[in-house]
Symmetry: C2
Subunit: 190 residues, 2 copies
């Protein structure tokens, strides 16, 4: 899995070969083929490995209350885990672009999506429950907006060079101004 | 350009060849090569052609006021132009995933991004100006949130099968509830 990670960082997805992965590991190409049917099979296992790590990373975000935990979770998504590698983020995007052609990739990518949305939803719901977030915040809507926005952050960064930090700042302010219950309140005029 | 569109719908980006494009057109492969150095050169021209059409599509969204025009613009982005083709959306995503490796693609994709954000920003600014949108809405922030969200919509649709309609509904409600000035007002408690 570490060798696959290194090889993806260096070669990207499209041109990746089993030889590239073997070169990053202590295994021969034939030993790799003993364990995996080929590049596709190996990458499906790699996605499952990433999914396990991703679920650990999002399981318990730091913070004293749901708002702080939500800000931490956003930072976790915007700042990829070390070693930070634009090459790796790009390779992941290439794999995502293959999803419509590849049911095995798609199934794993859907699990990433569902795990993340469900984590967001339960954090927002906990915050509405304990009064950290405004009572009129809908956890489904808020989670969907945040998850979709954060997908867009990666995409605009990779495809159009848009700053991760600027994108993160916008969503942090959105959380503070639109979700967090605070010194402002909404009054309906009759 | 029409032949390139058809070929991308059928074959996707990664496996596309000049022969595929020739097969969709009335030109021979050698005639295509007379006009374009190869697949990369042809696709750069195709992106420029799409950019021209995109700028026309977003130039004057329907609607009586800035809020209606903003809703129309969102619909334009969520609903691809006819003939609607998931194959084509996927091919575009594949091209976007190549952007970090390819300065020519990246430069054109940045122009799409800038054109769209700038259109959103001026619509929001017009709405703040004429009172359609709340006075505390920041056009830069709002445009960045909408543009990034809409990138994420495409990505979640292609990679994780998420419904375009549900994603669109969330952002339409966001516009109505968070941007549009209406019967609610925010009061700061002392």
């Amino acid at each position: 899995m570490a060798a696959t990670h290194s090889a993806l960082c260096k070669r990207g997805y499209a041109e990746l070969t089993m030889q590239d992965i073997a070169d990053e590991s202590e295994l021969s190409k034939s030993a790799l083929h003993y364990h995996f049917d080929g590049k596709h099979d190996l990458l499906v296992s790699f996605l499952e490995h990433l999914l396990d790590r991703f679920e650990e990373r999002i399981a318990a975000p730091d913070g004293e209350d749901p708002a702080e935990r939500l800000h931490s979770l956003v930072d976790t998504m915007v700042t990829p885990p070390e070693p930070r590698s634009d090459g790796f983020q790009t390779a992941l995007l290439e794999i995502q672009a293959q999803a419509p052609h590849d049911e095995d990739y798609r199934e794993r990518l859907e699990r990433f999506d569902e795990a993340f949305v469900s984590r967001l939803r339960s954090l927002v719901a906990a915050g509405v429950e304990d009064g950290t977030f405004r009572a009129d915040v809908d956890p489904d809507e808020a989670a969907s907006l945040l998850a979709t926005y954060l997908k867009g952050v990666q995409m605009r960064h990779v495809a159009a060079g848009h700053s991760l930090e600027r994108s993160a700042a916008v969503i942090h302010r959105h959380i503070d101004e639109r979700l967090v219950a605070g010194e402002t309140t909404v009054v309906t005029l009759e």
